[in-house]
């Protein structure tokens, strides 16, 4: 195997442009996105666990195969997230599984509850992390996805639009409805528990 070009200081966009002629530099893309995409997939589809690596491998192979199709007007991260999202949706359809809980660390839980401004709707109730995870798992895929992208992955509206291939205005509507669905499911869970 020959020496690999050092792309440490190159942007994702520069690296993906090299990929068709230099397969080895694709390793940089894998290294940079493996953890991000693994986390994203587990948030989207917590039932995945042991299949995560297989799905992740399929996603990276798809990125490699479609390297020439990268739309340079997009951020590379939006493009790779779009591929990951589409593969995840296909996987969910194929397996017909539903998550029972969503992976959420302590910091992520705090970030989610604060940035999504969800606690405002539950002034009287202290939001419990396990409950939030279950509520996220019970949400429809569409609405869970936008909440994950916006409040856990930290994507802006334009990036979410590029990932889900919907207009920016639709993203705002989706987030609004997702919050409503979250509140509704949380209230139901809370009432059942009480």
């Amino acid at each position: 195997m020959g020496s690999v070009t050092d792309c440490t200081n190159e942007t994702d966009e520069q690296i993906i442009a090299r990929v068709p002629t230099d397969r080895e530099v694709f390793g940089y893309i894998i290294d940079r996105y493996e953890d991000k995409l693994r986390r994203y997939l587990r948030r989207l589809m917590p039932g995945l666990q042991e299949d995560t690596d297989d799905l992740l491998q399929d996603i990276f192979v798809k990125v490699y195969v479609n390297a020439h199709g990268f739309d340079t007007s997009l951020k590379f991260s939006s493009w790779i997230y779009r591929i990951a999202h589409n593969e995840a949706v296909s996987w969910l359809r194929k397996k017909k599984v539903r998550p029972d809980t969503v992976e959420l660390g302590d910091d992520e839980f705090t970030t989610f509850v604060e940035s999504a401004d969800i606690a405002r709707d539950f002034k009287e109730t202290r939001l419990a992390k396990d409950e939030v995870k279950r509520v996220l798992a019970d949400m429809s895929d569409k609405y869970r996805t936008v909440l994950v992208l916006r409040f856990l992955e930290g994507k802006n509206y334009e990036e979410i639009g590029d990932i889900l291939t919907v207009p920016g205005g639709t993203v705002a509507t989706l987030i609004h409805r997702a919050k409503k669905e979250f509140s509704s499911i949380y209230t139901t869970h809370h009432a059942e528990r009480s």
Partner: protein, 257 residues
């Protein structure tokens, strides 16, 4: 940078898999071709939508001359004059235009309702231009004459003007005489038309002027094989039959006794 395919990292798994299966990136032309095909489908749908609009506008416009036949209470007639076939085709064209536009690289930036509006406005706009150029009328005449499937589903209006048993026929004047003229009817038959001594004119203003090459409709009675006595002769703007020829240069007669 880790660079070892033997280690069990994701980088190693992916690169080894790519190498072993001989996977290569799709060529750039594949993506360009896809984009071109999508735009071509959008363009094709736009052209079909424009033609369907031109025909819809033309047929709807022609219905104005059937005011005596169209009554809101008579749903059968109303149903027959609406150009359903072209409206359905326009709907399909808009659907495929929007679908294709959504599939373009930037298409998802636009809300579907805006794309629908764009497709409708573009198709109807171009259809109006085509109709103004006479393309809608020409295509309708061609289909009525040449396409066997077309008259049964869209030929109500021409048929309405060709009811010789009820005293109503229409066509193009091909030869003028001093007190009679020869007409090529919408169904291709030739009639020698004489003017009745009791001719009346209920034509709209200016529409009783006829001459060679002018499309006319008339009310009267058949007096024998290929002969007709007309009580009223007006210019005809409805569907079917050949197009009007040039305005008569020489003789013309007025629709008066």
């Amino acid at each position: 940078m880790p660079n070892d395919h033997d280690t069990d990292t994701m980088r190693a798994r992916v690169l080894t898999s790519i190498e072993k299966q001989g996977i290569i990136p799709k060529p750039r032309w594949h993506f360009l071709l896809r984009e071109w095909v999508v735009w071509l489908v959008a363009l094709l749908a736009f052209v079909i939508g424009s033609i369907a609009s031109a025909l819809s506008i033309y047929i709807a416009d022609s219905s104005r001359f059937m005011e005596h036949a169209i009554e809101l209470s008579n749903l059968d007639v109303l149903f027959e004059v609406i150009p359903f076939i072209w409206l359905v085709l326009l709907g399909l064209a808009v659907f495929y235009s929007v679908h294709a536009l959504r599939e373009t690289r930037k298409g998802y930036h636009f809300h579907t309702s805006w794309l629908v509006l764009l497709a409708v406005v573009a198709s109807v706009g171009m259809g109006s231009v085509l109709q103004a150029q006479g393309i809608g009328a020409a295509l309708d005449r061609y289909l009525l004459a040449e396409a066997p499937f077309y008259p049964p589903i869209s030929g109500f209006q021409p048929a309405h003007w060709m009811r010789s048993q009820d005293g109503v026929i229409a066509g193009v004047v091909i030869e003028m005489g001093t007190s009679s003229f020869t007409m090529h009817a919408l169904d291709g038959k030739e009639w020698v038309v004489t003017r009745s001594t009791s001719t009346v004119s209920n034509c709209p203003p200016g529409e009783d002027q006829i001459g060679e090459g002018v499309r006319v409709r008339m009310i009267g009675t058949s007096t024998g094989e290929g002969t007709y006595e007309a009580y009223e002769v007006c210019q005809f703007h409805g569907r079917g039959g050949p197009q009007s020829g040039p305005r008569p240069m020489g003789r013309s007669i007025k629709n008066v006794p």
